[in-house]
Amino acid sequence: MRFMSKIVILLSSLFFAASAYADSIWNMPAGVTPISREVYNLHMACFYVCCVIAAIVFSVLIFSLIKYRKSKGAKAAHFHEHLSVEIAWTVVPLLILVALAIPATIVLKQIHNTDESQLTIKVTGYQWKWKYEYLDQGISYFSNLASTQKQINGDMPKNPWFLLEVDNPLVVPVNTKVKILVTSDDVVHDWWVPSLGVKQDAIPGFINENWFLITRVGTYRGQCGELCGVNHAFMPIVVKAVSQNEFNQWLSMHRTVGYRNNTHTIARAKAAIKKVTKKGVESL
């Protein structure tokens, strides 16, 4: 019964998936950047075209299978060529493809235009975490999976964002063109956030560019999109889009915290050195 109701809910949500649900479990998110919305429209346009083609092909097939059954006394016709029909089903698909290629070409050009970005972040993939460096702000930190091994093993209840939560998300201001420079320290990774319409391979020895401009405050989640070893499933991406003010606050806070962390580290290092020296003295 529960299963049936689930199916009913799934089916009914299909009809609204296209518009009503921002984060549908059925469909690509329309997302929160101009590019992601363009990509979504392209995806839906192509999907509808495919549906129409499938509907035509399958109706002819079903019609033939019902009408021309031998058991209903159907006699096979003898034709096996028809030039004009053959030309038609060569040319018409070609035209449909051209019609799809034009918007795809235009959107692709926009994706490649990383000019006039207002913030540049270097994204480095590691086995198995991400490092974010705000090149002009001098901030850099790692972003690790926050779900615990206990949750993975089932010894602890899972959070709603199980495997899609990190300790330090990437924080960016809204309505700002953010350029990302993506590379890797070891194997090929892939930085993918569906709601931003961005997927960019992180390849050692290469720096790939991409960009996004988030128009809505919120938290957007993604995952590594290229098999990168044992913990490929465990290096999610969380992007927090905040207002410019909040971002400025975050920047200054992060600097202080970073400084405090630094002093803390220095203090710890000093203590360690003392200990070692003490030990050394003792052993002497």
Binding site: L10, I25, L42, C46, C50, I53, A54, V57, V60, L61, S64, L65, Y68, R69, K70, A74, A76, A77, F79, H80, E81, H82, E86, T90, P93, L97, L100, A101, A104, I111, Q127, I152, G154, K158, P160, W161, F162, L164, V187, D190, P194, G197, V198, K199, Q200, D201, I203, P204, G205, F206, G222, G225, E226, L227, G229, V230, N231, H232, A233, F234
Partner: protein, 534 residues
């Protein structure tokens, strides 16, 4: 040249003619008979289908719920890698080579393949190659765990020690495929019966001719690829190592230059089988034979120049992406022609629904779905979202499970009665078909949604919102697996000479072609005197 081969073969086969096949294992080990070798390929493929299928079930069990269910992430990666490698190289390719061996000589009126001893060797390389590959599962370190695409540097600098076994088994599989395809191409060129012009050849033969050239062109590239890996791993070269001035993207170019034609290698012979089955059960000549031939060759040629559509997110320049997008979209045209031609063959036919036809129709419907999602994937901006997600997994299982596996099933049900003289049980065949169709769709259709909603492929564990569809997929996988047990039973029954006897030369009312002029079951040696084709 063709004359020489003819005569040489005739005198060589003379002795066998009197006392038939040898008894016991020697028959299979030393055989040069194309039918025996075809059987070996098909049996090998069937065993591997269950091995790789078992791995797929393990994968699906692990993905039944979020969190760890059965496999550690390490084992999971090994299973996905092995499942892919075995299904591609151990199931689909050998099965299609088995059909080629059985059918091409009988379809073109030749007594055997052109190079029978080479034929024996090309098969017998395979069991050794796969023993070596599977032996890595029992070694102390991890077996290959980098996916069937084995991207560097995950497979080179970061690869487990067993990678070397993987490299050499790929070399052996490659050698096997090159020799087999060489043999097929030479046979088709030189061994055709008088009057069997190129444009009279059955489409299955045409499909294999195109496939043969594809294999000859790209298997050496794969061999080069794994050799460079071997050099990087042990001889201090840096083909793919950025730290040494190498280029990890080069790996992907080389791999996909092999890998994309490879998908047509897996599909074209299947197209050939369907082009035999659909006309037979529609009792109507194949629509647009010439167009089908040109479309096959067209797909093969265009298949060479689209490889970079697997690499759109690697940071390819704008114009490279545009070219590969347009070229990829172009593949849809000849593929569309094929689908429309099959449809036109069915249209106004006189249709019956025996198991081979059911599988052919299942192919037609689901391959169309897979082909259409392929068109979606070709659009670069949308591909950014699809790439590396379950959408891709759904897409290529739609084209491979139905395009290759279903066509192989259709072919087995279609020709097995001819080969063995026993008719399979129609009831069991239909059970097999319906369980396969239902299982296949339950497994792979929800994967479209998973991918679009953002689930990456090759992950052993996933976020909670992906649970429902994954559970449906796992249930589907088990339904599919149960269906294959029916298939196993049907095949074993036919091979044990159980079941209804078939005596007519033309097993199927609507069948056409030279193979149906031979007695049923097909004798050990056929067309020792070439037939004349009018």
């Amino acid at each position: 040249m063709s004359e020489a081969i003819h005569h040489a073969h005739h005198s060589g086969a003379h002795d066998d003619h009197h006392h038939g096949p040898e008894k016991g294992f020697k028959r299979w080990l030393f055989t040069t008979n194309h039918k025996d070798i075809g059987t070996l390929y098909l049996v090998f493929s069937l065993i591997m289908l269950f091995v790789a299928g078992f791995m797929a079930l393990l994968i699906r069990i692990e993905l039944f719920e979020p969190g760890k269910v059965l496999l550690s992430p390490e084992t999971f990666n090994q299973m996905t890698t092995m499942h892919g490698l075995i299904m591609v190289f151990g199931v689909i390719m050998p099965a299609l080579a088995g059909f080629a061996n059985w059918l091409i000589p009988m379809m073109i009126g030749a007594p055997d393949m052109a190079l029978p001893r080479l034929n024996n060797w090309s098969f017998w390389l395979l069991p050794f190659a796969f023993s070596m590959l599977l032996s890595t599962l029992f070694m102390s370190g991890p077996s290959p765990d980098f996916g069937w695409t084995f991207y560097a540097p995950l497979s080179t600098t970061y690869g487990p020690q067993s990678t070397d076994f993987f490299i050499f088994s790929i070399h052996m599989m490659g050698a096997s495929s090159i020799l087999a395809s060489l043999n097929i191409v030479v046979t088709i060129f030189n061994m055709r019966a008088p009057g069997m012009h190129f444009m009279k050849m059955p489409l299955f033969v045409w499909a294999w001719l195109s496939t043969g050239f594809l294999l000859l062109a790209v298997m050496p590239v794969l061999a080069g690829c794994v050799t460079m890996m071997l050099m990087d791993r042990h001889f201090h070269t840096s083909f793919f190592n950025a730290a040494g001035g190498g280029d990890p993207v080069l790996f992907q170019h080389v791999f996909w230059f092999f890998g994309h034609p490879e998908v047509y290698i897996l599909i074209l012979p299947g197209f050939g089988i369907i082009s035999e089955v659909i006309p037979a059960f529609s009792r109507k000549k194949l629509f647009g034979y010439a167009a089908m031939v040109y479309a096959t060759a067209g797909i093969a040629i265009v298949g060479f120049v689209v490889w970079m559509h697997h690499m759109f997110t690697t940071g390819a320049p704008y114009f490279a992406q545009l070219y590969f997008m347009y070229a990829t979209m172009l593949v849809a045209v000849p593929t569309g022609i094929k689908v429309f031609n099959w449809l036109a063959t069915i249209f106004k036919g006189s249709i019956t629904f025996e198991t081979p036809m059911l599988f052919a129709l299942g192919f037609l419907v689901m391959f169309t779905i897979g082909g259409l999602s392929g068109v979606m994937l070709s659009l670069v901006p949308a591909d950014y979202q699809y790439r590396g997600s379950y959408f891709v997994v759904a897409h290529f299982h739609y084209v491979l499970v139905t395009g290759s596996l279903f066509t192989i099933f259709a072919g087995v049900y279609y020709w097995l009665p001819k080969w063995t003289g026993r008719m399979y049980s129609e009831t069991l065949g239909q059970f097999h078909f319906w369980l396969s169709v239902i299982g296949m769709n339950l497994t792979f259709f929800p994967m479209h949604f998973l991918g679009l909603a953002g689930m990456p492929r090759r992950i052993p564990d996933y976020a909670i919102q992906f649970t429902d569809f994954n559970q449906i997929a796992t249930i589907g996988a088990f339904i599919f697996a149960i269906g294959q047990l029916f298939f196993l039973y049907v095949v074993i029954q036919a091979c044990r000479h159980k079941g209804k006897r078939v005596v007519e030369d033309k097993v199927w009312e609507g069948a056409h072609g030279l193979e149906w002029t031979l007695p049923t079951p097909v004798p050990y040696h056929t067309f020792e005197t070439a037939p004349v084709v009018h």
